[in-house]
Every structure is written in C-alpha cells, then in structure tokens.
C-alpha cells in the first residue's frame, strides 16, 4: 500500500510575544526579556495509507486541530516534514499549494460558522468546482453540484436555500458536499460530528463511511470522542500536549491500550456497556499549559504510574508489539 500522507517530526509553535513591548517589560527598575511561546505541536509523526481512516484523538489543547491545520498548510510549520502523495509540501508557497489543496480538503467542526451565510447551498458547492477547474462552465458546475448535494442527502428543491434555513446536520452535509466537489484524495475532518445531536451524528458518520468507499477517499479524522473514532478509523493516534503518546491499529488500541493516558481516556468515557474496557482509574488534575511544558514526560503530573524517571526524562517511542507504538517509561 502506498502512503498518501507522511508527517515526520512536525513542530508548531505560536509566539505570544511578537511585539517589542511584549518581549521587553519594565519590572522592578529593570528591563526584563519575557518570552511566551505556545508549544502546540511537539514532534508529531504518523502516516496515512491510501484508503485508510486515521483517527487523531485527544483533549482540548492537545494540538490535534493545529496538527491538521498545519498539514493542510493553513499554518506555516515551525519544523518537520509533510509529504503528500509523494511530494514534499512542507514549504510550498501559496501558489504551489493551490493545486495540492484540490486533493486535500477539509470538513470543519462548526457547521454554523463554516458556511458563508450569504451563499445559497448550491453556490457553496459550486464555488470550489469553479475555482479549481477554470474550464468548467457555470451550468456544468451547477449540474455537478446538484448531484453532489443529492448524494449527501440534500433534496434538489432545497438547493436555493441559505445556510440558516438548514439544520445543523444538513449544514454538515453541505460542508461534506463542498469538500467532495473537487474529488480530493484526502479529507481532513476536524471534529465533524461533535456539534450534532447523537442521532444525527450516527447519520453523518455513516454517510462519511459510504462516501469513503464510493469516492476512494482517505481520511484524517480529528475527534475528542473515542467512541466516534473507534467506529470509523483504521488506525488511531492518541495525542497529549502536542505529542502522539500511543499509535496503533484500532483493534490493538482498544483491545490492548498501553499508555496510561489512553487508559485514562478510555476509562473516562461514560458508557452503557456492562463491563468496562479498562479498570476505572483515579483521575487527577488537568492538561497543563502548553506555554510552560512540563519537564520529562508531559503526562507525569497526572499519571497514576509515574516514577522518578518520568519527571526527568522524556520517553522515546517504542514499538511494543508490531505496529503498536508507545512513548512511556513503563515500557522502556
């Protein structure tokens, strides 16, 4: 199987002290240099095979959305390498990125904010068609857009409605049609269902899976909800504070979660299943600030199994069983 996307050692940071007066402060009669840098992504590596769904899970602030936005180059990477379809796209400029984005589209979390309120449904889907294909005439684009809308479950008579006339689930469907319009190879879906009701969530997840087979898509799926990821992913990476702490195939991860944070996540999800997957763990604390990263293992402050070494040394990634990677001192 060929690799569609390969991300190697990706870093992303945001400087909060861009201006001169942010950096140099006058404190107790001295000029002090202050630096505040948000370390959002700290060395992320993973790859997506053609036709796979890769799920990235983690809490808010774990850097999963930033990773996605950096991959599609809405953000300039700090360091690392992004290979897409055999091409290094890490430092391509805006013009060179444009044809690449044809093959890499995004579905956003908030169906209320990601559609232009002054465009009709049909225009929303036509826009990428016309933008990425200069030879297409407007009536042709309209035909294609109509087909796409119908495929995602928007009826033809609804095509002239504006976003506010649709429900959240329907808007998400329009967002999906827009992403599909240019026939991309990879779709990056950033929390595609978290704003929707549970019965609608299931509809959208099923739709995504049908489309995946039909259009031969690959997915990078970002979610905080492990049960959503479990349902449709082939491989999963668990993120914590900008690092992937565990990655494995879906079945390995759920049958044999190794990293304490993965276990913690699994035991936190409320479930109606009788016997829990993992023993309930005592949870302490909250995710630390990415401005002052903890020393050693980023998770040690909350980890029930923390030892002395965890505070001093950052654990490296190890392959515990085939294709099951964990960064934790317990397994070193």
């Amino acid at each position: 199987m060929s690799k569609l996307l390969e991300v190697t050692n990706l870093f992303q940071r945001f400087d909060l002290t861009k201006g001169f007066f942010d950096k140099y402060k006058f404190k107790s009669w001295k000029i002090v240099r202050e630096e505040k840098i948000v370390h959002a992504v700290n060395g992320v590596s993973f790859d997506i095979n053609q036709g796979d769904v890769y799920g990235l899970v983690g809490e808010s602030g774990s850097g999963k959305s930033t990773t996605a936005r950096t991959i599609i180059r809405l953000l300039e990477p700090y360091s690392g390498r992004i290979m897409f379809d055999g091409k290094d796209i890490t430092h391509l400029d805006e013009n060179a990125m444009r044809p690449i984005r044809r093959n890499m589209q995004m579905i956003f979390q908030d169906p209320y904010a990601s559609l232009n309120p002054r465009y009709k449904a049909i225009e929303i889907v036509m826009e990428p068609l016309l933008f990425h294909n200069r030879n297409l005439t407007t009536p042709e684009a309209e035909m294609q857009a109509l087909e796409l809308l119908e495929r995602v479950g928007i009826r033809p008579e609804q095509k002239d409605r504006y976003p506010h006339q649709f429900s959240g689930g329907q808007r998400q469907r329009i967002g999906i049609a827009r992403a599909l319009a240019v026939k991309p190879k990879l779709i990056i879906a950033d929390e595609p269902v978290s704003a929707l009701d549970v019965s609608i969530q299931a509809q959208i997840l099923n739709l995504l899976m049908d489309l995946k087979d039909e259009f031969k898509l690959s997915f990078l799926l970002i979610a905080h909800d492990l049960s959503v990821v479990k349902h449709i992913s082939d491989k999963i990476g668990v993120m914590y504070l900008g690092k992937i702490v565990e990655k494995a195939s879906k079945n390995d991860l759920f049958s044999n979660p190794l990293h304490p944070y993965t276990k913690l996540l699994l035991s936190s999800v409320p479930t109606i299943d009788e016997d829990p997957l993992v023993e309930p763990l005592e949870i302490k604390g909250e995710i630390p600030s990415p401005i002052n990263l903890p020393k050693g293992c980023y998770f040690h402050e909350r980890c029930p199994f923390a030892r002395d070494i965890c505070e001093l040394d950052t654990p490296g990634e190890r392959e515990i069983e085939p294709k099951h990677y964990v960064s934790c001192h317990i397994y070193q």
């Binding site: 809490e59 689930g169 019965s199 299931a202 909800d225 479930t271 109606i272 299943d273 909250e286």
Partner: protein, 325 residues
C-alpha cells in the same frame, strides 16, 4: 414515601410571531427525596425548558400555560416572583451548561459564593468566608484559601464548573437542577465532575434533575430516566429498564445511535430523518415520520401514555417488547 416534587400536566408555550411553540406539552413526573432523575433527548426536545419551568425562569414570550409544579406540598405555578426568589438558590438551585458564562466575570469567586450565602442564610461575614472556603474544598479545588480570591477567567473550565457546583450546594438545597453540566467539558474532566456531583448528592441527600443529551451519562448517574421528544415525554422508567428493555422506538433509536466500544459493527444504526419543525408538528405521534415501526394509525392519532409495567410509562401506540428488534 413523601414526594419532594410532583409535576402534573406541565405546559410551557412560547408565543412567537411565527406561531405557537409548545416546548413543553403535558409533562408529568415526580421525584422523591434524594432521588435522581435524568431528562434526555435531542436538541429541541424541551428538556431544558422543563428544567427552567420548575424554577419559573421562563421569560416572555414564553409562559407556563397549564399544569402544577408541587414542590414540598406547595404549587410553584401560583407563586409570585418575590416568593420564588426565596426558593431559587435556597430550596432549588441550578447548575448551567456553560461554565464560561454562568459566572460573573467581574466578581471574584469569594463574592459570588458569598452572594448566595448572604441572601439565604443568617451567617455573619467571617462565618460566610469560612463556609465558602470549606465549600470550595469540598468540591476539590486545591488551595481554596488562595483560589477564593481569583476571578473566573483565571480558572479552567473544569474548575469553574466546580465553583458553580459549590455555589449550587452552598445553601444545601433540596433539589438541584443540572442542565448539561458536563457538555462543555473534556471527557477526563467530565468524569471528574460527574464523580464529584454523585458524591455531593449522596452526602447531602439532595434530589437531582440531570438534563443531558447523553444517555450514557444518565445511565451512570440517575435512578430514573425520562425521554423527551418535541415537548412530550416518550418514555419514563427506572434507568435499568430504559437502558436494557426500553419499549419506545425513539429510546431504542437513541440507544443504538451511540457508538459502543464493544461492538464491531462498521455501520451505526440511525434514526432516519430529523426532528420536525416545532411550528408545524405532525398530526399523529410526533415521532411517527422517523419511526421504522409506524403504522397508519400513528400518522393520524396521538397515542396516549400507558403504563406497560409498574413505573414504566410509554407514549406509543405499539410499544416494543424485549424480542422486537
């Protein structure tokens, strides 16, 4: 056992320019002392309006047009705003969904807890401060003597929700209404907050109405469950029954839409279609257009509430039995 709260045929309607919205349309339930009830359903089901109606926080154009809310033997519907002020926050308190907006951003935590104590207790200033610190300690805020002086923006979402819980239990109310208390929180923090709420409620013997869209949360937290759809109660029973032998197609649909860790189905069961427009509800059973078991009578006639077994109420023409799938 004596009932703490009896709600009878509650109807809360909103009169808007576009027409009448029957947000709560004939809801009946009761709650014993120390009992916990979960109200579940999708957005627009009327769960929150039911919660707000109980403490009469319904504003224009909404109105409680019918029904009784008997709390400790007295009907709240007839109470004046002045009388309600004595009940809200003292006898019944509320925990809101969004910890970012439920606290006043320009007052310190100390002032906000103090407000509740000052209004509803006779404690002196020093005692109130001591009580406040104790409250913060009891909801698991580290270093409460220092933290009490912080402002809401200095706390994380989970910490803010803890403060809100501290304020809600400050006067040891008989009933706590929690409207989606953990929806805005991360899953590990959600687990912490749910555990805390459970501990607090058992310790103080409060009753709880937990409003949520998450059936899994309810299954861990409450004694009984009420499922709402378009302002009507679809099914009501103890939690065990709802989770394992529900008989309303809507409840079954909600349960099977939840992705489960144990199942390996590639496809999720779904409820077809979407929630109907509240201005233009179907003539018969509101759920009929989405129901895969519907027959012709469902589209023309509203079902009546029936008790299929003791304490298990179903609003359906053809309740499902355990064998149906």
């Amino acid at each position: 056992m004596d009932k703490l709260l009896i709600v009878k045929n509650l109807r809360t309607y909103f009169k808007t320019f576009k027409g009448l919205v029957k947000s709560v349309d004939g809801v009946d339930f009761s709650l014993e002392r120390g009992e916990t009830l979960g109200i579940v359903g999708e957005s627009g089901g009327g769960k929150s309006v039911t919660g707000f109606s109980i403490i009469k926080l319904i504003e224009e154009p909404g109105e409680i047009v019918n029904g009784q809310i008997i709390f400790e033997g007295e009907d709240l519907v007839n109470k004046s705003e002045k009388q309600m002020e004595k009940i809200r926050g003292k006898e019944i308190s509320m925990i809101f969904q969004d910890p970012m907006t439920a606290l006043n951003p320009i007052l310190s935590i100390r002032k906000q807890i103090d407000e509740a104590l000052q209004l509803h207790t006779t404690l002196g200033k020093g005692e109130r401060l001591k009580t406040s610190i104790e409250l913060l300690r009891s909801v698991g805020i580290p270093n409460p003597e220092v933290r009490i002086e912080s402002f809401p923006h200095e706390l994380s979402g989970g910490m803010r929700q803890r403060v809100i819980i501290a304020i809600a239990i400050a006067t040891n109310p008989k009933l706590i209404i929690a409207d989606e208390p953990t929806t805005a929180l991360d899953v590990t923090i959600q687990a912490q907050i749910l555990k805390l709420m459970k501990e607090v409620i058992i310790k103080n013997n409060n009753s709880l109405i937990l409003i949520t869209h998450n059936l899994a949360v309810v299954s861990q937290m409450t004694d009984k469950v009420m499922v709402m759809y378009c302002g009507k109660v679809m099914e009501q029973a103890d939690t065990e029954t709802i989770i394992h032998s529900s008989s309303h197609p809507y409840t079954r649909g909600l349960l099977s839409s939840i992705p489960r860790f144990r199942s390996n189905h590639k496809k999720l069961d779904t409820i077809e279609g979407i929630v109907p427009n509240m201005y233009n509800l179907p003539k018969g059973c509101y759920f009929a257009p989405r129901c895969k078991y519907r027959r012709s009578i469902c589209e023309t006639e509203q079902p009546s509430m029936r008790e299929t077994s003791k304490g298990h109420f179903v609003y359906c023409h053809f309740p499902l039995t355990d064998g149906d799938n």
